[in-house]
Symmetry: C2
Subunit: 209 residues, 2 copies
């Protein structure tokens, strides 16, 4: 609702947003959804989509790119959060879970050929992650590495139960548990974690198929 509907162009501009929002919702729910499902959800015809994006792949790239941007924005916000590092870190992960950008980046990746820009953005995101992690390092239980959080984020966002609100509630429930487990416990050393931690190479290897 920017400026009330003032003619054809305003309507079109509004459709830009509606279509993107619909695409996000549809592909988050089902990464393999057909284009027609997006159009239907947006309440527009198919040609409204093809007027804006030359192909399905282009739309997916746009969504992926936007997702990464949101991820990066959250990371930067976290880095400039000057509260207690552990408090800031918890807020950071909660924000990432709510943003649910995983479904738009790594789940969608593989369904299209990534552009160099995407790789670059992904690299920047991982740098920021590393920075936030480094600042909080002393609060973690020994043995935890940055890459753990990527895997944990995937796990948590794999939860889908009920409507969007309920899903978010449950995700927060298990995120809370995970965070407690990763927090440096006062006394119990907490036994060794089994197996070597995930490595960056393992995570990035999935971007080709």
């Amino acid at each position: 609702m920017t400026k009330a509907l003032s003619g054809r162009q305003a309507q079109a501009a509004r459709n830009d947003e509606v279509i993107l929002a619909a695409a996000r919702a549809v592909f988050v729910a089902d990464p393999g959804a057909p284009i027609a499902a997006v159009a239907e959800r947006a309440g527009v015809g198919i040609s409204a989509l093809y007027r804006r994006y030359a192909s399905k792949e282009e739309l997916l790239r746009k969504l992926c790119s936007d997702g990464l941007d949101r991820y990066i924005a959250e990371s930067e916000k976290a880095l400039s959060d000057d509260r207690d590092p552990w408090v800031a870190f918890k807020a950071y992960l909660r924000a990432l879970v709510d943003a649910d950008t995983n479904s738009l980046t790594q789940r969608l990746a593989g369904t299209f050929t990534p552009t160099p820009e995407l790789f670059e953005a992904a690299g920047r995101a991982s740098e920021l992650d590393r920075a936030v992690f480094a600042r909080t390092k002393e609060y973690f239980r020994p043995g935890i590495v940055v890459e753990d959080f990527a895997v944990i984020l995937e796990q948590i966002t794999s939860i889908k139960l009920g409507d969007e609100t309920r899903t978010r509630q449950l995700r927060h429930r298990y995120l809370t548990l995970m965070l407690e487990a990763m927090h440096r416990a006062g006394e119990e050393p907490g036994g060794e974690l089994p197996g070597p931690p995930p490595s960056m190479a393992e995570l990035t290897d999935r971007w080709r198929a």
Copy 2:
């Protein structure tokens, strides 16, 4: 390798197993995989499959049913495990993660119409779960319910990284963390968990579509 290959019938009997194993592997990796992929993986022709199962759906039902049986078997083993309940419980969850029956039951469910037998078996499985949980109840952090473990099992088995061995390693890694978080901590009460816990109704509501 039952009795060395003694003619046509023995070969066919062996194929029974090979085909089931292939189907399990293929559909765990990709629930929407085509029948041809199973045949190829098994190293047999398509007709070898259709000789045994009248349709794809029938094969899926068989896999689902077998998965439930394995689940139930693990539950019974856990119930008769007379070690310290907490130790037994941890072993139970590790076994369930390794059995990876979730991918065969709830992920496959929805792709076919469930039979009454399946519902019955699922009911039995959930009763057993409840029994194991009840026996271990005092070891849990306050606020944890049985249904939590269903969701946690889903989360954990959603992890897929590298080959099968590596995937299992990583699943154990995060299962260990989760278990630590759910264990009654000696002192810190551990803040309230956000939102209401999952309910049985929420979990079973997904079996129709």
